[in-house]
């Protein structure tokens, strides 16, 4: 295993930050030269000040000061609940549909039709059904994250080589154990892709769900700031969601690698 770690030497790690660095530089240039006025794009140092007040300030000191952890907790709870529901439904249904023609027949038309409906169209219905609050957001997140998770699990399960399952059968592996010992590990690369896509989409739909007048959460923060014309807060919100989204992706990958050999040893 050591050989693989050696490949990730320092210059490669720095490469991760090259593009963000360039963006920051361009942002600085645009603001310093007056190419974009502050009401369209605030200066990085103002955004930094706002961010620090939002993250670490005392509540009541300024508008939005110190609200970050409350917003983060609210948003993270919604994302994790919605994503969790999508995983619980998406992986088993996807794997079944990938392996059993009958299940596939039963599900594929419906799911592919529903998939064509943009998530935002569900918003009014969700509000009627679940009212304003956590349920609507969780519903939207779960719905949106379900499709990539389901589709990738289905694809992964379908593409598992029959030879692998035959090899298992001849070594005395019955169906149930074969599912966990062979089918799922063999489909793992696709399943992971689905989970990562689903996690990304979860954050996107979180913002959508929080547009609907909930008092807290990162999406609510952005909508609130738009109404008050606080561009700097919007930018802070966007950057925070990007950072948290990336952290979730890394965390998800790490958790999977920690729990499954097949995630650790993708060829």
């Amino acid at each position: 295993m050591i050989r693989r770690i050696v490949v990730m030497t320092q210059p490669h790690r720095l490469l991760n930050w090259l593009l963000p660095g360039i963006f920051l530089l361009a942002w600085l240039v645009v603001c310093e030269t007056g190419l974009a006025p502050p009401y369209l794009l605030p200066h990085p140092k103002d955004v930094l000040a706002t961010a620090s007040s939002y993250l670490f300030g005392d509540a009541g000191q300024a508008a939005y000061a110190g609200r970050f952890f409350e917003d983060l907790t609210a948003s993270a709870t919604r994302v994790l609940l919605g994503f969790g529901l999508a995983v619980i439904a998406g992986i088993p249904l996807g794997v079944l549909s990938g392996r059993l023609a009958l299940v596939n027949r039963l599900l594929s038309t419906t799911i592919n039709a529903l998939r064509a409906v943009p998530g935002i169209s569900w918003l009014p219905l969700a509000m009627v059904w679940f009212g304003i609050g956590i349920k609507t957001t969780v519903f939207l997140v779960a719905l949106a994250a379900f499709f990539p998770i389901y589709l990738n699990a289905e694809d992964g399960a379908r593409q598992v080589s029959p030879t692998l399952l035959q090899a298992g059968a001849m070594m005395g592996v019955r169906r149930l154990r074969g599912t966990f010992a062979i089918l799922l590990p063999a489909a793992m690369p696709s399943i992971i892709t689905g989970l990562r896509l689903g996690m990304g989409i979860s954050w996107a739909y979180l913002v959508l769900g929080e547009l609907t007048g909930v008092p807290n959460g990162l999406g609510a923060l952005i909508m609130d700031a738009r109404m008050l014309g606080r561009i700097d807060i919007i930018v802070v919100g966007i950057i925070l969601i990007a950072l948290i989204g990336r952290l979730c992706d890394v965390g998800l990958h790490y958790a999977l690698r920690l729990s499954f050999k097949s995630a650790r040893r993708i060829p």
């Binding site: 080589s161 090899a167 059968a169 070594m171 005395g172 063999a186 040893r265």
Partner: protein
């Protein structure tokens, strides 16, 4: 668990050893798109005695691999019966193990874990299992590669793992589906030597499918020559060449030439 090591040399594998595999009038038809049936195998009958090395030779598309799949239990015959030690051979199981042509190792398991895979659920202590795995690792010469992943070893090594993971289960019969066809010439020869060595040490019963006449002449006690589609046994050739056989030997050449001529005449 004591290894059932039993050394039987070619001379002792007489016609008196018991029949392990009995294939009786096996046929296989597949439904084609709209236009009815296509017969792939027709009335195949033969028996294999304990410790025998049988090669099935024929042109590609003659149903050799289909027959092997039926023997393994991966698909049922359309007619006829396959019996293992007198009992109908049903679902696939560790009594009839297959070494596949393509890479069928579990990519997420190390060499060692792949070899140990079939032992899960066996009534053995962890230490006994480890000892068995180590023994088979060394039998196929992979002791130093125990912790490598399949993606990190060569094609020849992968087939060694494929061999070890089924030999460790002590199958009644070992089914091999062109296992060395994808290897380069030199590796193939090494693998043939290895297989013959393991066979003489562990005295397995082997049914080996190949399209390589030279390979069949080198390995087999008996060659079943398959006719073109639909597959039928055209001829059964008993090979009396003494072992170990040499590829430089005149008798070996003559045999290869005569089998090749027979295949061309099909």
């Amino acid at each position: 668990m004591k290894p059932r090591l039993q050394i039987i040399s070619a001379e002792h594998r007489s016609a008196a050893s018991p029949v392990v595999l009995d294939v009786e009038k096996v046929s296989k038809r597949f439904a084609t798109n709209g236009s009815g049936n296509i017969t792939v195998l027709q009335n195949i009958s033969f028996t294999v005695r304990r410790g025998e090395f049988i090669c099935i030779v024929g042109r590609s598309g003659c149903g050799k691999s289909t027959l092997l799949n039926i023997l393994a239990g991966f698909m049922p015959p359309s007619a006829g019966a396959v019996r293992l030690n007198g009992r109908p051979a049903g679902h696939p199981g560790p009594d009839r193990c297959v070494v596949f042509q393509e890479d069928a190792l579990f990519a997420w398991l190390t060499v060692k874990e792949n070899i140990a895979f079939g032992l899960k659920g066996h009534a053995m202590t962890r230490r006994e299992k480890e000892r068995e795995v180590d023994r088979f690792l060394s039998l196929v010469g992979l002791t130093d590669f125990a912790d490598y992943l399949p993606a990190e070893i060569s094609g020849g090594m992968k087939q060694r793992v494929s061999l070890a993971r089924v030999l460790i289960l002590r199958p009644e019969i070992l089914l091999m589906d062109e296992p060395f066809a994808a290897l380069d010439a030199q590796t193939r020869e090494e693998m043939q030597d290895l297989l013959l060595r393991l066979w003489s040490e562990l005295s397995h019963t082997i049914v080996f499918v190949t399209h390589d006449v030279g390979e069949a002449a080198l390995l087999a006690d008996r060659v079943l020559l398959f006719d073109r589609a639909p597959g039928r046994i055209k001829e059964e050739i008993r090979i009396a060449l003494p072992r170990p056989r040499q590829k430089e030997d005149d008798g070996y050449y003559a045999l290869c030439r005569s089998i090749t001529a027979k295949i061309k005449a099909l």
